[in-house]
């Protein structure tokens, strides 16, 4: 990992999104102090903490496996960090009770972690972090061990909770829906480098690199050869929802596959040497062929080194595919 600069504004949630092995967990461990950087500095709340032990950084961390201490009851699990900081007994009890209440696990404080369900353990792990009232929260894929339904519910609860306590959060995930929904700011990471930082909707609307274009958004953006449009771009990306199916479309493509997503249908189209995915409303009648128009105003252009080209010299009018078309 090198050349990574990230700033989490006070009271905001920044998610780091990236494929596994991209270094996002390492980034979190560096901030927590569990690993040492070779160079560079880490500041928390304006203080340089680069050389400090994790316990002296005033950060709390939630782990993917929750990492609850199996031999301690939930109360102890939540209280132990406060006890180690020599807080008075009554205050410890009071804060644990409050944190447990916020997460709805007040009734589970007398149990051991093994007696809890996955979702309850997750809440206990969050309570253990929240009770500390730290300067920053570090979360490492905290939802990935939950089932889909619980994940969706917990995601919303997390956001509400963090906003309520105005937490500064660094959140690492490989799940783009989590990243999109939770973030104030989102950073997309690949092989130890930050590819793009910005608001989730910004990143979705204007991916600055080829990698981000292909990684963010589901179903994935269509990534097509650049010679589809004039202007010399190496690659062109168009999101499936931006593919226009219209009778006057200049390209005729065959429908290879219809996948229903409920309110929408994902069509796989093939023709003219191209393969495309298009997202259309569920009501659209099935057809063997569709006429397609690609609108350059909705396309994203990238150079050979994967950077975004902002204003390729093309007209905004519809362009027909030349060359390979019709072979």
């Amino acid at each position: 990992m090198s050349g990574v600069t990230l700033d989490v504004p006070d009271g905001e949630i920044l998610t780091v999104l990236g494929p596994s092995g991209c270094g996002k967990s390492t980034l979190l461990r560096l901030v927590a102090g569990l690993d040492r950087p070779d160079s560079g500095e880490i500041t928390i709340g304006g203080e340089d903490v680069t050389g400090r032990e994790p316990k002296d950084r005033d950060v709390a961390m939630v782990f993917q496996s929750y990492a609850l201490y199996p031999h301690m009851k939930i109360f102890e699990n939540i209280a132990v960090a406060l006890r180690l900081r020599r807080l008075p007994r009554e205050e410890v009890g009071c804060r644990v009770a409050k944190a447990a209440e916020m997460l709805g696990i007040s009734g589970l404080l007398g149990r051991y972690p093994r007696q809890l369900s996955g979702g309850e353990r997750q809440r206990a792990a969050l309570a253990r972090a929240i009770v500390r009232d730290p300067k920053a929260f570090l979360l490492d894929e905290p939802l990935s061990n939950l089932d889909a339904l619980q994940r969706e519910r917990t995601r919303a609860e997390l956001k509400t909770l963090f906003k309520e306590i105005r937490a500064t959060v660094l959140y690492v995930t490989h799940d783009q829906i989590e990243a999109m929904t939770l973030s104030d700011q989102m950073a997309v990471m690949r092989s130890g480098q930050i590819e793009q930082v910005g608001k989730p909707e910004e990143i979705y609307a204007r991916p600055t690199t080829f990698f981000v274009a292909g990684f963010v958004g589901s179903p994935q953006m269509n990534l097509l050869p650049g010679d589809l449009f004039p202007g010399g771009a190496h690659t062109v990306g168009i999101r499936p929802e931006d593919i226009l199916l219209a009778p006057e479309g200049p390209m005729e493509m065959g429908v290879v596959l219809r996948e229903s997503l409920g309110s929408q249908v994902l069509l796989s189209l093939r023709g003219g040497g191209l393969e495309l995915k298009a997202l259309v409303p569920a009501g659209r009648p099935a057809a063997e062929n569709e006429r397609v128009r690609l609108d350059p105003a909705r396309a994203h252009f990238f150079s050979a080194d994967g950077r975004r080209i902002d204003s390729p010299s093309i007209s905004s009018s519809a362009v027909t595919r030349k060359g390979r078309d019709g072979h």
Partner: protein, 273 residues
Amino acid sequence: MRRIGVALGVAFLVVFCLAPFLWTVLTSVKPGPEVFAMPPTYLPRALSAENYTGVLEQRPFARYLLNSLIVAAASTALALTAGALAAYGIARLRMRAAGTIEKGIFLFALFPPAILLAPLRGAVLTVGLMNSYVALILVHAALNVPFAVWMLAAFFRQMPKELEDAARVDGFSRLQILSRIVLPVSAPALAATAILVFIFSWNEFVIALAFMTRDEMRTLPVGISLLSGATAYEIPWGQICAAVVMTTLPVTAAVLAFQRWIISGLTAGAVKG
């Protein structure tokens, strides 16, 4: 049909394994003359406690038992303490020499203790520790440290690392992580190791024989083997058997009591708890 076959096989194995011990138990409750009766009687014709009372009253059996307990308990505690610290260091601290140290420890375990006997006895004589608990405790502990390191390092390695990361963020120091997180979580592995080390020391014969020359310092195995009759030509088999039974039973009871722990210790990691 198949079940019956398995049952018969198991029964045969159990009898085969337990027969010597069963014979010992039966002999221990036979009255004196019957022990040597020809032809031998398999089931005692009359039950008698005379061998037990004999061992307890005429022999320093209680003293042997005390010596064995002291030596085994202390050497187990020592081997486990040293072993746990070493194993944690090898398994978790990022030391460059960890691999070499671990291999070195195993190399030491390859030496048959008998080879070490003469030099160790010389050393003990030189420092004047013959007939003291200290020497035997140290040597028993040292011989078991490799085993303890091996067991515990394997267990520590498969412990989720996030547990210790969480502890570091929570504010535990390195030693607190070991004593308050790692060791409590490793209780099954510690119990399994402790029992096996204890049994080793409890049964160890050669070194105990070489280090303890005074009768009142002898441990059980040595003491029992040196039980002698009224004349040099008489071996008190009945009393020896009674002593063996009394030596074996406490350990057997302890193993049975800890059995579930030991099994979960030996199979730890196979199933996520």
